[in-house]
Symmetry: C2
Subunit: 104 residues, 2 copies
DNA sequence: GCAATAGATAAGTCGATTCTTATATATTAC
DNA sequence: GTAATATATAAGAATCGACTTATCTATTGC
């Protein structure tokens, strides 16, 4: 759940792919496996990494596990990145647009 | 220089520490080594990782190498993060404040 | 109860990462 | 030219990370 844990978790393409899927809504482990050429334990291990980085949370539902993004999980990255705002001025416009959209 | 390269580069505390120092201004390799209990080659290797992730750039100055943050380097992280904006609403106020500051 | 299903855990393999020491290259100072 | 300084590169050791197969646990359907 430290910055290091989070960046390590995000450093793997499979895990970023899983997060992307979860950003569309809850999924169980089997659903998250779809399209990935990887064993079931591998998926389970990736989910464990995301979980202990605080990026996802889970809920048991019968014999399934429903995974979802943990809203606060990326906060440390946002905060970390904010310290370097002086170095990405050309991204500011994009962010402003974003925030304007969110206001509506 | 891919998302994966960048997140991997950021996943190491020593490298994040180096970036933080560089955010205060240019440094050469020897200066970046200060306070780190690590051999000179180790520093050099970390700098190579940051460089090939596109996060820093360097300029030769005599027998020294001056390192600095590459302004665009973090752009892929900003963009990636923006896709998850829906999941960090409580950070928006902070960002708004930030942008307001920058406008002044 | 028993078979099937969903998922986690254990143990091992293999390549990648992060160090080390030794050495090479370029620049500066004298 | 020679010694000292700044840095990079090479090679190797130790640890870590991402997989695998085998197995375990919990739940469901019949």
């Amino acid at each position: 759940m430290t910055e290091t844990d989070i960046f390590k978790a995000l450093a793997d393409p499979t895990r970023r792919h899983m997060l992307e899927r979860l950003s569309a809504g809850e999924r169980n482990a089997t659903e998250l496996r779809e399209g990935l050429a990887m064993s079931q334990p591998a998926i389970s291990q990736h989910l464990a990494v995301l979980r202990s980085a605080g990026l996802i949370e889970e809920e048991k539902s019968g014999r399934q596990m429903r995974y979802r993004i943990r809203p606060d999980g990326l906060a440390p990255v946002v905060d970390w990145l904010a310290r370097y705002r002086a170095f990405w001025p050309e991204r500011v416009d994009r962010l402003k647009t974003l925030l304007r959209e969110m206001d509506q």
